[in-house]
Assembly symmetry: C2
Homo-oligomer: 382 residues x 2
Amino acid sequence: MIKGIKFSGIESGIKAKGLDLGLVLFEEDMHCFAAYTRNRVKAAHIHYNKNQDIDAIRAILVNSGCANACTGRHGIEDLISISDKLSSALGIKNNQILFASTGVIGKRLQKDLIIRNIPELLANLDENNIDAFANAIMTTDTFQKIVKFSFEGKKEYTLIGVAKGAGMINPLFATMLVFLFTDYPVFPNAFSQYFKRCVKETFERITVDGECSTNDTVMLFSKKGHEDNSCVDKFKDTVFKAMKELSLMVVKDGEGATRVIHINIKGAKNKNIAEKIARRIATSPLSKTAFFGCDPNWGRFIAAAGDAGVPLDPDKVEIVLEGVTLAKNGMEIPFDEERLKHLMNKKDIELIINLHSGKASFDIFTTDLTYDYVKINASYRS
Amino acid sequence: MIKGIKFSGIESGIKAKGLDLGLVLFEEDMHCFAAYTRNRVKAAHIHYNKNQDIDAIRAILVNSGCANACTGRHGIEDLISISDKLSSALGIKNNQILFASTGVIGKRLQKDLIIRNIPELLANLDENNIDAFANAIMTTDTFQKIVKFSFEGKKEYTLIGVAKGAGMINPLFATMLVFLFTDYPVFPNAFSQYFKRCVKETFERITVDGECSTNDTVMLFSKKGHEDNSCVDKFKDTVFKAMKELSLMVVKDGEGATRVIHINIKGAKNKNIAEKIARRIATSPLSKTAFFGCDPNWGRFIAAAGDAGVPLDPDKVEIVLEGVTLAKNGMEIPFDEERLKHLMNKKDIELIINLHSGKASFDIFTTDLTYDYVKINASYRS
């Protein structure tokens, strides 16, 4: 709980059933730091939010069930209508509200339905109601994603984070929405670079199916005021820890996933090479089906690495899976396949590939590719 | 049948069962034109072939069941041993033989087994035995891929093509091997650029799972002598037609595929943009599962396009699936979902995306992503 930050989550009817509309209300003006999808097709809320007063935010409204993407100017007009009504109900300015959406692309937001539900949303607000908010933004997530940390400065501060992960919607594709809230008073100029770096090192280090949503959003809301110099580093560490933990929860709950694979590329000439190879393996269907099948089929990993579009000397490559060396100098080292199969049959696996060509490294977390991924995403929408 | 070109295919024991070793013998020296995988990890046969006398080729030996990739210098030494024995058995020079392999990566070729089988391979040679050869190079292909064309010049010429497609091996990943044979006497300098362009416009226009094999090989063998100027264009057209037809057979037989999707990107500012977007959609798991599920979920296509790493103006995008317009100006046009679902439920589907930003276009053929793809590739190797 953070004093002055209230949550609500209700069933408005956007989705056929279940909670689908969440509101966070801030008692005082908050700074907002935001990172959005790199997809060239961006949802309406992303275009809308960029024109609001991000140093005096009082509320964020989030819906599931409709992405409000590919809705053109209508999508933005709908948000303006909602914002007008919600701001008068709250007694704030209409540029003090932000939005986020997740759901089916190409359908317009049911703005009248949402406006009709404002009284219930407000009645539901409570400092202890983050569970309802977390549920309202979930789609096919199989578990709630909330983290909470405290740290000491001149007083005790709290940071709470909530996320929805890689679940399909109705069914559409995975969108990641993440919201972090803290009563720590951030000095925005100094922090915004750090915020971006944290996003890069956490949420941009996970992948489920290599797909990039039109709606991905990460936001951190902080109180305003004089920064507490006694705990700047503690605050920064806490932000990173919260993002890292939420990102791992998101990948763990990836669509159909039975395990999380931590891919670690080492010994690269530079970080770009390590990153390209890590991302290529992390999105390789043949590597991901091998993880599902507990098959220590290292040829698939090295073949994906060779197809990453960066220089690679195959004759130097060393591959270590769950601590067992499968290949060295690009050739197989005899190993016990049955034992490996057993070692791979768990929730978390580590794959280390050493290129022996330099000192740079890059790591990423991915899921396996399973029947359930196909099932979830091949079901007809209706 | 082409006079002077003999085929054989036998069961040597490399695979647990079935034909796994094929030989083509040429009565006279042939030119060989070859294109190999762009993967940085390349099978031994690719390194080996580059050092042979490609203007006087007399035989090609192809095995399935073992990729002979990631086998280091051993892999090449094994081919040298086999070539020594096979060339003396045939009474030719040892640099007149080429090789191709497909199968599991990281395992050495059983050279002694292959050498022991040379007499049977030779006994099996026959101008009419292309079926056995085609079967010997197959892995999990569900049908044989052979094409045959004739064309008239000063005499009648023949072009025969044979391919193995995107079937996993034992199970490893899809390798494409393609061999074309003709009695037309090609002038090599003029033809080699055209050959490369044909490969680019046919085999590089298909994808099953976006994976690039260490072993991919396309070879065309032609007779030597004075080119028949009366039918150069007919010959060139025939080469293109044969490659196009084989490439479509390969994608149709993609692992687990139930349908082939022809993706056509139009109205792009330049061809590179059209190609990047076409390839991004063709390898997008969410687009491919939508095709499997007969879901006209156009939001997935536009989201993949937006993630292709090239400029895109979402507000201009038009999407037409099986002749029905789903979206215009980046927004949904009301359509009958049930009818669309029905239209999508067939073997061949066409998706046209018009970017309305220029005149360039690019097309590619892909498969859907199905349970069977996961099944085939998640099965344990043993």
